[in-house]
């Protein structure tokens, strides 16, 4: 009996760790619930219930013994699609039975502690390129390409740097969009840039909460009303922070 209880707790730990990594990396709520359920059922716990919100997961397993419930708190969320893909493949391996509980727990712990993101330089370079390209896509002229690239790249860099010092995400987004607005304004004043609007729109795109918006909608339509609404609120706050940062530049200069 005691052995069995311990085993159930171990299985729940694997499920919760997988769920935690996925939720922190920006996966959709229904995918997190689905993955946890699949892992549990392939380890032999057929009846499970999970309640996933962006800030925490409650997971309970039913069986012959009394129902056991565990709670895990999620305090920080970012976007890391690679981790989502890795956890997904581990859950596939568990379902097909190629790895056992111990191996799964080890691999998940490894993923959890790894930092898989691209180096900061690559990220900034990508943001730089993307800003320039977005400016062209929104019908800007090629003569604004370089200014949009510079302000977009520096804006993203300042977002990352501010975020390291200030843990409040909305404030660093506000500051980053302020930097973008200021730089674009300076470029236009110097005569390097031509259309202020296009430069700002192009460079702000790297901060836009596109992932949050799509996830919020997907959650809402899958019936996860609480997490859909809270993700929507987060997206709205982010959009508001960006808008306010630009508005400060536009209205005071």
């Amino acid at each position: 009996m005691g052995n069995q209880v311990e085993q159930t707790y171990d299985i729940m730990e694997v499920c919760l760790l997988a769920g935690k990594i996925m939720l922190q990396s920006g996966a959709e709520t229904y995918r997190v619930e689905d993955t946890m359920m699949r892992i549990a059922s392939s380890f032999g716990i057929v009846k499970t219930h999970s309640y996933v919100t962006p800030t925490g997961i409650i997971f309970s397993a039913e069986g012959d013994e009394p129902t056991k419930t565990k709670l895990i708190r999620i305090s920080e969320r970012s976007t890391d699609l690679k981790k989502v893909a890795l956890v997904n493949s581990i859950s596939r391996n568990i379902s097909s039975g190629t790895i056992n509980r111990k191996q799964a727990l080890e691999q998940l712990n490894e993923i959890d502690s790894m930092d898989l993101s691209f180096p900061l330089g690559t990220q900034v370079a990508a943001a730089t390129l993307a800003s320039g390209c977005f400016m062209i896509m929104f019908k800007g002229g090629w003569n604004d390409f370089i200014p949009a690239m510079i302000s977009g790249g520096l804006g993203y860099l300042s977002f990352v740097c501010f975020h390291r010092f200030i843990p409040i995400k909305f404030f660093s987004e506000f500051l980053a969009s302020f930097v973008i607005g200021l730089l674009s304004f300076i470029f236009v004043k110097m005569g390097v840039g031509h259309q202020l609007d296009k430069i700002i729109i192009g460079s702000v795109m790297t901060l836009v909460p596109g992932l949050l918006v799509t996830n919020a909608i997907r959650d809402l339509m899958a019936g996860h009303l609480v997490s859909g609404l809270s993700k929507g609120a987060e997206a709205f706050l982010t959009a508001f922070a960006i808008g306010a940062g630009i508005a400060v530049v536009v209205s005071f200069l």
Binding site: L81, M137, I217, V250
Partner: protein
Amino acid sequence: MAILAQLITSFIATGSFGIVFNAPKETLVKCGLIGMGGWLVYYLLEGYTNNAVLATLAATVFIAVLSQELAKFYKTPVIIFSVAGIIPLVPGGLAYDAMRNFVENDYNTALGLAAKVLMIAGSIAFGLVFSEVINQVIRKLTPKKS
């Protein structure tokens, strides 16, 4: 010529968004291609009908259906393919215009623009819902191999 420039820039933009979102390296090119296809649908339809809402809807359905098929094929989560492709469709430019008009106390123009932003965001949402339905219908219609 203009279309060629749009194609290249949308490919690079969505691909580099994949890097910002830390998508796995081997999916970056596919992300870029999906983004390019979606943007092509949007650009052509928007130029032809002059209706951004319809164009956004069509492009979203295109991206979402395609990325669900790709996700099934490569056995990866859908989100990896769809997210980067949807980013260009987000009405950032219009939202900026609306914000700017609010700040400049031109509330009438600003409200009109804000309504349009809501319409486009809603059409992205509806496109996602619609493609999910299409996918479930496809899944039900195709006989299961067992």
